[in-house]
């Protein structure tokens, strides 16, 4: 691996980690709404988190797709 590849990998890793942090922030607020009593995440919280990630990406794709349809007039 040369330096160029190494740097690109690191940048991609940083972007991935930043996305995970902001998705966790958003989905925590949406899915973990009650009082903190148990140290573990229950079934319904877990499926909410997984759905939250997937619907957020769906939503992003829908918006980008719609922008393309509109001819990119931003």
């Amino acid at each position: 691996k040369d330096l160029q590849t190494f740097i690109e990998n690191e940048q991609q890793k940083a972007k991935f980690q930043a996305n995970v942090h902001s998705l966790t922030d958003l989905c925590w607020t949406k899915c973990i709404t009650g009082k903190i009593s148990s140290t573990t995440i229950d079934r319904s919280e877990e499926s909410c988190l997984v759905n939250c990630v997937n619907r957020f990406i769906d939503s992003q794709k829908a918006i980008v797709g719609q922008l393309d349809v509109m001819g990119g007039r931003t």
Partner: protein, 73 residues
Amino acid sequence: MSTIAQQSNIENARTLIEKINEKCFEKCIPKPGGSLSSGESTCLTTCMQKYMQAWNVVSQAYITRIKSDPRGN
């Protein structure tokens, strides 16, 4: 030099997409389910168009204000 200008436009579009997704996900998908329902999809499209209109109204109002009052910001 046009590369810098292009990057600036890309950055602008990227921020707009991020903001739309943030606001419209919040409004249209309060409880994320196993897939996007058709109601949620419709809401996202509607919300997106509305957000872009709001963005245009704000841009215009801001430009008008800056022109009438150059030292104002």
